[in-house]
Symmetry: C2
Subunit: 453 residues, 2 copies
C-alpha cells in the first residue's frame, strides 16, 4: 500500500514581461506563472505533478486554493484514488464552502485543475503509461464514469456519451499507429505576439515556415492600421496556401468585433479567436453569423463545461479551444470533448503559457484515437517558450507533436527551475532585486507580496 504523505505547492513565476513574450491586446505584460502542485507518497520514486497557469499576480491565490483543495488527499491510499478518479474529483469539487466562490470558475476552479492534474499525472505514473495511453486504454464506460456530466444532460446523456466512445473503440489501435508515425499537427503562436517589431515578426514567420508549420497565428485588436500591416507581412512570408489565424484576446464588444474582423477579411484568416468576452455565448454566436466564412474560435478562458455546452447549443464556435489548466482536469475536459463530438465542433486546445503544450499533446492524441477519430479542422497550439524547465518536454517536429512515451502527464518541472523562479524568494527574484532591475521587481512585488493589515 502506497500512501500520499504530503502536498507541496509552489508559486513559480517567469519574468516573460521583460521580453514581451506573450503580449497581446488585453495582456500587455504577463509574467507566465504556474501554481505548481506535487503530491508526495511514501514511495520516494513516486510523486504526482500538476499545475494551473496564470500570468503573474494572483498566482499566490491559486497556490493557496490548491493547498485547500489538495488537503483531503493527505493520508489516502494511492491505489484507492487511482481506482476511483471520478469519485475523487466529485469529492474535491463538491466542497460546498469552496463551491460558493465559483461555482466551477475562477481561482477555486483553477486550483482544482492544478490538483486534479497532479492526481491524473500520478495515476498515469502508477500505471507506467503516458496519460494519453492511460486514457485510450480505458473502456467507454470507464471514461464516462470519470467524466463530469453534471448539468449537461439536456445536451448529452450518459448513454449517448458511452455510444459515442463505443463507436470508435475497435479502431483505436489503427489511429495510435498512425500518430506514432506522423505525430499530431500543431500551429505556432511564437511569431505573432503584439509586442514584437515588424522585423522580428517577419523573421519569426519565416522561421516557422522553414520549420514546417502550415498554420501561423497573430495577435490583433490593439490598432487597426498595425493589424493590416502585420497581417500583410505575414501573408508575404507564408503565402496564401498556409493558414493564418488571428487572436483579439477579448478586446472588443460584439458590434466592434464584427466590424473590425470584417475589415481584415482580405487576409483570409481561418479564424478570429476570442473576439469578445469569453463568457458571451450569444455574442460569439452573433459574431460567427456576421463574419462567416471567417471562423470563430474561443475557449482558453472557457470557465467550465456549462459554458462550452451553451457555446455548442448556440452554434457559437467553429473551433473549440479548451484549456488544460482552466477546466477541472481530465474529468471535465472529457465532458467537453464528448459534447464537441456530439455537436461536430473540432477541438483545437489552447496551449503556450507554462507547460500547457506538455499537457495538451496528451489531450489531442486521446481525442483523435478515442473520441473524434478525425484530424480535419484540427490543429493544436504550440508556443516555443519555457519547455526547458520540464523534465519531459514536448517534442515538435515538422509542425507536429510526437507522441510522449514517458509515464505521466508530462507535468514535472525540474527542481532547479522551481527553486530559481519561486516567487518571491527564489534565486532569480532575489538576484533581480539586487540588480539594476530593482524598479521592475519592486513594481511586481508591490501588489504581490505587500500586506498592509
Amino acid at each position: 500500500m502506497t500512501i500520499i504523505t504530503a502536498v507541496q505547492t509552489f508559486d513559480v513565476r517567469f519574468p516573460t514581461s521583460l521580453s514581451a513574450d506573450g503580449s497581446d491586446a488585453m495582456n500587455k505584460d504577463g509574467d507566465y506563472s504556474a501554481a505548481y502542485v506535487v503530491l508526495r507518497t511514501d514511495d520516494p520514486a513516486l510523486s504526482g505533478y500538476g499545475f494551473t497557469f496564470t500570468i503573474g499576480r494572483g498566482n499566490d491565490l491559486c497556490v493557496s486554493a490548491a493547498e485547500q483543495r489538495a488537503l483531503p488527499l493527505v493520508g489516502r491510499d494511492v491505489d484507492e484514488i487511482v481506482n476511483d478518479l471520478g469519485g475523487l474529483y466529485r469529492e474535491l469539487q463538491g466542497d460546498s464552502q469552496l463551491r460558493w466562490l465559483g461555482p466551477d470558475k475562477g481561482v477555486i476552479h483553477l486550483a482544482l485543475a492544478a490538483v486534479m492534474n497532479a492526481v491524473w499525472d500520478l495515476a498515469a505514473r502508477v500505471a507506467g503509461k503516458p496519460l494519453w495511453r492511460l486514457l485510450t486504454d480505458m473502456t467507454p464506460e470507464q471514461l464516462v464514469e470519470v467524466a463530469d456530466l453534471r448539468y449537461l444532460s439536456d445536451a448529452l446523456t450518459r448513454d449517448e456519451a458511452v455510444a459515442l466512445l463505443t463507436e470508435l473503440a475497435p479502431t483505436r489501435g489503427e489511429r495510435i499507429a498512425e500518430l506514432e508515425s506522423s505525430g499530431y499537427p500543431c500551429y505556432t503562436t511564437s511569431a505573432g505576439w503584439l509586442g514584437y517589431s515588424d522585423a522580428k515578426l517577419r523573421r519569426l514567420c519565416q522561421e516557422a515556415v522553414d520549420a514546417g508549420y502550415r498554420h501561423i497565428k497573430l495577435k490583433v485588436g490593439a490598432n487597426r492600421e498595425d493589424d493590416h500591416r502585420r497581417l500583410r507581412i505575414a501573408r508575404e512570408v507564408i503565402g496564401w496556401d498556409a493558414d493564418l489565424m488571428i487572436d483579439a484576446n477579448q478586446v472588443w464588444d460584439v458590434p466592434e468585433a464584427i466590424e473590425w474582423v470584417n475589415s481584415l477579411a482580405e487576409f483570409k484568416p481561418l479564424w478570429i479567436e476570442e473576439p469578445t468576452s469569453p463568457d458571451d455565448v450569444l455574442g460569439h454566436a452573433a459574431v460567427r453569423r456576421a463574419v462567416s466564412p471567417i471562423g470563430v474560435a474561443s475557449g482558453e478562458h472557457g470557465m467550465n463545461r456549462v459554458l462550452f455546452k451553451q457555446m455548442f447549443q448556440a452554434g457559437a464556435l467553429d473551433f473549440c479551444q479548451l484549456d488544460a489548466a482552466r477546466l477541472g482536469s481530465i474529468n471535465e475536459i472529457l465532458a467537453v470533448y464528448l459534447l464537441a463530438k456530439k455537436f461536430g465542433v473540432p477541438v483545437c486546445p489552447h496551449a503556450g503559457g507554462v507547460g500547457l503544450c506538455e499537457l495538451v499533446q496528451h489531450l489531442s492524441i486521446f481525442d483523435y484515437v478515442a473520441v473524434s477519430g478525425s484530424l480535419e479542422g484540427r490543429v493544436t497550439e504550440f508556443v516555443d517558450h519555457l519547455h526547458e524547465h520540464f523534465v519531459e518536454p514536448c517534442i515538435v517536429e515538422d509542425g507536429a507533436y510526437t507522441l510522449p512515451t514517458a509515464p505521466g502527464y508530462s507535468a514535472e518541472m525540474y527542481e532547479g527551475s522551481v527553486a530559481e523562479y519561486s516567487f518571491p524568494h527564489g534565486s532569480y527574484w532575489v538576484s533581480a532585486r539586487e540588480s539594476d532591475d530593482v524598479a521592475v521587481v519592486a513594481d511586481r512585488e508591490r501588489l504581490a507580496s505587500s500586506r498592509v493589515a
Copy 2:
C-alpha cells in the same frame, strides 16, 4: 486633502452551520462569512467599509485577493477617488494579471466587490449621505459614466442608458417621498431553510405572517416527498393569497428541474429560484418555457454583467436576483439594473448572508427612484440573521425596508464582532477550540488553516 493611509482586511466567520441556518439542498453546512475591508484615512473620523460574502472555507482567499485589489488605493487622495469612481473601478478591474484569473468572476471578482463596496461606502460618507441618496442625487450622465458597460453594447448603448435614466429623473422626488412613507417591500427566507424541522417551519411561517410578510420562500430540491409536505405546511399557514417562492440552489440538471418543478405546481409557487447551474443561460430559458406560469428567478451566483445580459437576451428570467457582493459593486450593478430596465425584467436582489440586506436596501430604493419607477413584481429578500453585528443595521417593519438615513452603504461592522469572529484567532474560535466543540472546529480548521508545504 484627505489621504487613504491603510487597507485593513479581516476574515470574519460566523458558525451558522451549528444551527443549520442557511442550509439548502446544495449548501448543507455553511458558516456565513465576510471578507471585510476597511479603508483608513488620515482623518480618524473617516473610513470606508465593505465586504464580500462567502460561506466559510476560502474566505481567506477573498481576503488575500482584496488586499491585492486594494493596495493601489493606499496613498491616494480621497477627493480624487470619489470624484472619479468610474475611473478607479476600471483601474482596479483592469489589472491584466489578476484579470487572467477570471475574468470578472470567482475570487478576484468577489474581492473587487469587497473593495469597491468599501470605496462606495467611503464616497457616501464623504458626501454625508446614505448610498441610495448619493446615487439618486447623481445625474443620468454621471450614473452612466460610473457604470461598467463594457461588452454590453449589443444589448444596451451608452445613449440608451442615459435616455432610460433621463425619463424618470424629473419625478425622483415623488418616489422618494413615497418610500419614506411606506418603505420598500421585502420577503423572508428565515422560515424555510432545509435543515429546520416541520414544527419549526410551521412556527416560523406563522411568525412571518404575523410580522406582515406577504411573501415566504422555502428551500426545495433535496427530497421530493419532503418538498410536498413542507409546501403543504407553508400553504396551510400562509393561505393562498400570499406568495410562496421556492429555491432549489442549483441542484438539478435541466430536464430534472422541469419535471420536479412541475410536480410542485399544485402549490402555485410564484417562482422557482436557481433551478440549475447559475451559468446556464440557455438552460434557464428552457426551464422557463417549460414551467410557466411558474416564474424563473436567478442571479445570486450570476457572476457578472455579461451573464445577466445573456439571461435577458435569451428570455431566461422572470426575476433578476443580482447579488451586491458578487457583482463588481455599484459600477457593475448599475449596468445590470439598466439592462433589466431595458428588457422589462424586475430586479429582486438576493440578500441574507452577512450584511447583504444592509447593502441591497440601498439598491432597491435607488432602482425604484431612478431606474424602474415601479414596484410591480418587485420584492427584496430579507433574512433575519446576524444584523446585530452591524453598526447601522437595516430596519424592517410590516414587511418593508425602511429608508436608511445614516451616511454610507450600511456596511460597517462592530469592531467587537470583527474581533470575536475573526478566523482562526478571534475569541469565539479560540474558545470553541478550547470547549467541547473541538471536533467541529478541528474539522473546520483542517482545511482552512493547515499548510503542508
